[in-house]
Assembly symmetry: C2
């Protein structure tokens, strides 16, 4: 038996699964009116679905996340990175897999197993590239709903996610309120500010400025790695905070006593960003960045969020909400979380709100923090 460092019970080895909506109609009509199909979603599950099928929690990943939210694959080499939210999901953890059946799908448009611009276009036999239709957060959630239907789940105990994952939570709540017992939106927003759109547009421009991008037709050749790396560097700065960067890097030099008086990078923050950029190009597709950033820019649930209704009005209580923000998140600052809370309250919804004091910026929800764990455990368990 493998004893983990923290000696906590861990998940048994997990497996990535795939579900393809290939039955007629194989093509789905997207929000733009475009058709897409067949669509495959990669997903993972942790814990067991109970016989009432009412203990499922859908975990929605952020922009560049994937379906590997928790545990390790059977083939994982020792020390290989566990799922991106492993500290939150597992036996006895914030989302307790002894109680809940957790589903984490990779989003439509991504490149981690689900159908996206790097997938083969059945009409041509080549990767879609820019022939992939523009999809929205609404389309992402519609495909997730089909997966949940396929798993035989009529109502989710909860939908939870941070950042773009939080957008999916809100979309679930406005699109399928009768299927969502609770929604937890962390470090998220009802819609992008001009600032958030600006940073996304810079990322897109950086990719499209790379001559290797070739209007998206780079598969099989040189990839737009330079542009994608710069795009990731931009993104990464928005996920941090002034305070966290001062604490972590300040003006510390990289392996040097003095300045190089050259452009190789003197400061640790420079090396760190370059490292983040080059790491990203090895695991993510540039076209997926274009599509997912655009979907999140388009996202706007201010109006529907103010008009959420219990669709059938009889069979179930209204959705319960937990909204969490971080003091140092300047991508989706607390004022945006408060706007969401106000909107929900005005439409008579049951909403709890917590602003967590943390200096690590937007990405705080990806860093182990007992406060968030306790909050989430209490919220989900309190629904029972």
């Amino acid at each position: 038996m493998n004893i983990t460092a923290d000696r906590q019970p861990t998940l048994p080895p997990v497996v990535k699964q795939y579900y393809t909506f290939a039955e007629p109609p194989a093509e789905q009509v997207l929000e733009s009116g475009a058709r897409l199909g067949p669509i495959t979603l990669a997903y993972e599950t942790y814990g067991a679905l109970n016989t009432a099928k009412d203990n499922a929690i859908l975990v929605a990943h952020a922009f560049s996340g994937d379906s590997h939210a928790a545990g390790n694959y059977p083939t994982d080499a020792e020390g290989e990175k566990p799922g991106w939210w492993d500290f939150m999901i597992g036996p006895g953890r914030g989302i307790d897999t002894n109680k809940y059946f957790v589903v984490c799908p990779n989003i439509l448009g991504s490149c981690m197993g689900s159908t996206g611009p790097s997938s083969l276009n059945p009409a041509t036999g080549s990767p879609y590239g820019l022939d992939f239709p523009m999809m929205t957060i609404g389309d992402i959630v519609t495909t997730q709903k089909m997966l949940i239907d396929h798993l035989g789940i009529q109502r989710l105990h909860g939908v939870i996610g941070g950042s773009v994952g939080g957008m999916q939570v809100l979309q679930w709540c406005v699109g399928y309120p009768e299927m969502v017992r609770s929604g937890v939106a962390i470090a998220s927003t009802m819609r992008h500010s001009a600032l958030a759109i600006a940073f996304n547009e810079i990322a897109r421009q950086s990719i499209m400025a790379d001559p290797n991008w070739k209007k998206g037709k780079y598969y099989g050749g040189n990839k737009p790695d330079m542009g994608l790396a710069v795009a990731r560097m931009v993104g990464h700065v928005t996920y941090l905070s002034d305070e966290a960067m001062r604490r972590k890097f300040g003006r510390k030099l990289q392996n040097k006593e003095t300045f190089s008086f050259g452009f190789d990078g003197d400061f640790q923050i420079e090396s760190y960003l370059r490292h983040q950029g080059s790491k990203f190009v090895n695991r993510f597709d540039a076209n997926s960045v274009l599509y997912i950033t655009k979907a999140s820019d388009y996202f706007d649930v201010v109006e529907p969020m103010g008009k959420i209704e219990d669709r059938d009005g009889k069979n179930h209580e209204i959705t319960k909400y937990l909204v969490v923000s971080y003091t140092s998140d300047w991508l989706y600052p607390t004022y945006q979380a408060k706007e969401l809370v106000k909107t929900l309250k005005r439409s008579g919804q049951d909403v709890s709100f917590c602003e967590i004091e943390a200096d690590c910026g937007h990405d705080a929800f990806l860093i182990p923090d007992q406060r968030l764990t306790t909050l989430i455990r209490g919220f989900f368990d309190g629904l029972a």
Copy 2:
């Protein structure tokens, strides 16, 4: 007589002048130890130097500024853009040219008339490119000091500047305190935070990722316009604020009723940034961006600022300081201005501080605002 829109007295037509330090030693030794020469500074002056030569104010421009701070050139077509601080400098304005003789030099390393990486290297007859030695804010100020010597000025009534211009102010105060009667640092800092370095590094990486950059040897061929445009977009976002962007752009669409579901840009903020990017490539040199951002990253006067002394101790009173910050400046936030004020107070300096409530971010000092004008006029006139 030309009556201006605001019917205020304006400057007579101004002329860009050049001063070349060509007398032996034609080469200057820079802080890095490298030699550079001959060096030319482009500069403009407004108002008249009095016979005592004690009414001169040096205006230090920001990162991408130039020597054209005020007035119009004789050849200016009607409606052509006046100097970048024209609302501040002129007869009866904040820096009153009826009283003061104003000098604004283009900084070393720039591309607006002063020697920089796009200048001809006398050793090769070709533009320097990356053979241009790395220069510092210290080097920039040393060359400005040589210009002030050349003009026969022994002591400046003041040195004033915003952002990187403010760094030059602080450098003047630590390097030549006996020559500076007063220093006004606006929206500036004693040294870059990791966040500021991060954004500069992203700008540099974006330029260097452009295949047209060719390690700086692009003169005479295709320029790295795409990389430079993205770099400028990044810079531009850091000059604005969340609030200003919400007010100005929000989620307004560009000439459209609905989303395009494509990558041409739907939101006004996207078009605005693209416009800023393409405007910049027509007027600025990519290598100058590399050198000036690096110089500002290296800049750090925390230690010398705490030890400023009256160098001769007899002939003049100590330098008087005015430090101004803006509430919405997240590039050099108010806490950094307060650190400067504290440092100056600890070393017994005479310092006034004002935080201006404004939602337009770092670039606020470039936008007409009577509060700043009044503050500066009062400060300079109060020294008399």
